[in-house]
Symmetry: C2
Subunit: 303 residues, 2 copies
């Protein structure tokens, strides 16, 4: 079974029973009642040896940093602030004190930088090393952003640059906690999520969740220098920016009338306008030459 | 490195930064500020194929049930009620729709029985199947129980029977949520935890956390029928009850003057008085014949 199929299969079989659940599975985090002004955010994400990394390509410190960062990125995508983390680690028998030091250094680096407390965890033996992080965050009710709020006519923005993350950025990216909150405080964002699986996949998810379509201005997509390094030409670079994934940038929409209010830069990171939401539920890429392509999740196909 | 060594090594390197953390790593769950009357509880626990189970010995439904139950047992040990769960699943490539159905059935069985909402999760590929559950619970401040509160002279109790859990109980046990709360409401419990790693190990942990010692009345330990099945005689049965682990029963202490107030049964489960806390920080087992043994965590050694 494909991942999306499994997720749908599971979601159909879960029944939510408590009133306190504002948003269950399906967005970047769950949203839970907390107090009169804030919601709690709950999320979990895991990195597994030989699936997400090999110990040859990255230090354990960078792996642990990433395990924290992917969860922080989910909290950012909701407009929230992180609070607490639980770490469940699967460790091979042959793990050394130095390995564990490295893991702790990576976890602590992110915990300190984003003021998160690691309040508990669990250790288990495992042939393949894994780090599963669960994170609790909070968000003011007025700042909560979902992926389902985009309306036809809204303009689409993205932070930073996309593609080629596998070269380095997927291990060293900065979760957009600060950037998300600065943007939300400046403009009435209608939908927001992080780009973890590639712009083509995640923008489609945002459109589906919002019951809309989109026109993506292909030549406006900010292609990263690393994506260009592995590309023959600009078109190839755009392909990488669309489909590589692991960018952990913010994807968000804003009503057309607030377009000019969106800052060109937040916290040193550029913001680019890359498209518009449409009434018609089709997912189109449009180039400056007028060529139209159909955008497939993780795919790129001319028609 | 041994597990306890790794945990100590990690705990020394974690700095807690936020006021909201009432109890960090070290008890059955973390305890977090919530509202004027209640705390939040955060915990995580994982079951891994070929470490905690093989797919020959148990159905995936029972494995999933256990993954929920071990977390529920941690919430119970604090005196709390479960609220929300996140499921992080590592699934092998060859997983079938039937396998996934079984996993969901096991998760839902426990979620429905204990009124928990599964609000999110994560799927990843993994050679060995694992299910990592994180759980959020809550507890009224007045009912919170820690493992560190026992005083010399307090009497030690245990719910249910111990030992031989590997035969069946480790997959089918009932987390003692209801029992814990009934006990706490009836008597002023001074310390409480669940028995996951065996009475010898967990009672030692409770004693260390409380800065006390204990006399354990060996002949009063409730040995399970399954422990007797795998034992040659009563003494061997007691050995299993002390050291097998995975009992997921409650271990708790009560000031001596409330000894008679402790019910003999809660919610159909027997409660047994098994010892007393001592000023002297030694860990002793005493038999009715007057024989004294030293209790080692997971060990049993005459002296």
């Amino acid at each position: 079974m494909r991942e999306e199929e499994i997720i749908e299969f599971i979601k159909r079989r879960l029944k939510l029973k408590q009133e306190g659940v504002v948003i269950g599975p399906g967005d970047d985090t769950a949203v839970i009642s907390y107090n009169s002004k804030e919601y709690l955010l709950l999320t979990t994400d895991c990195v597994v040896e030989n699936v997400h990394f090999t110990r040859k390509e990255a230090t354990l410190s960078l792996i642990a940093r990433k395990a924290m960062a992917v969860n922080l990125s989910d909290i950012a995508a909701m407009g929230g602030l992180p609070l607490y983390a639980l770490i469940s680690a699967g460790l091979p028998e042959e793990i050394t004190r130095r390995d564990i030091s490295q893991i702790i250094n990576g976890l602590n680096y992110m915990a300190d930088r984003f003021n998160v407390d690691i309040v508990g965890g669990n250790l288990t033996k495992s042939d393949a090393l894994f780090l599963d992080v669960s994170m609790v965050g909070k968000v003011e009710k007025k700042y909560l952003k979902l992926r389902s709020g985009a309306k036809p006519g809204d303009v689409i923005f993205v932070t930073g640059t996309l593609g080629g993350s596998r070269l380095k950025k997927h291990l060293t990216f900065t979760p957009r906690i600060k950037e998300a909150r600065e943007i939300i405080k400046k403009v009435p964002v209608s939908a927001m999520m992080d780009i973890s699986d590639g712009l083509s996949t995640d923008l489609t998810r945002l459109a589906v969740a919002s019951g809309a379509g989109f026109n993506l201005y292909l030549d406006k997509i900010p292609v990263s220098a690393d994506a260009m390094k592995i590309s023959k030409n600009k078109e190839d670079g755009i392909f990488h920016a669309l489909n590589d994934g692991e960018d952990y940038e913010l994807l968000f929409t804003v009503p057309l009338r607030y377009k000019e209010k969106v800052p060109v830069k937040v916290n040193g990171t550029d913001i680019h306008l890359i498209g518009e939401m449409t009434e018609e539920k089709s997912y189109k890429g449009i180039s400056t030459t007028g060529k139209v392509i159909k955008i497939f999740p993780s795919g790129y196909s001319h028609f």
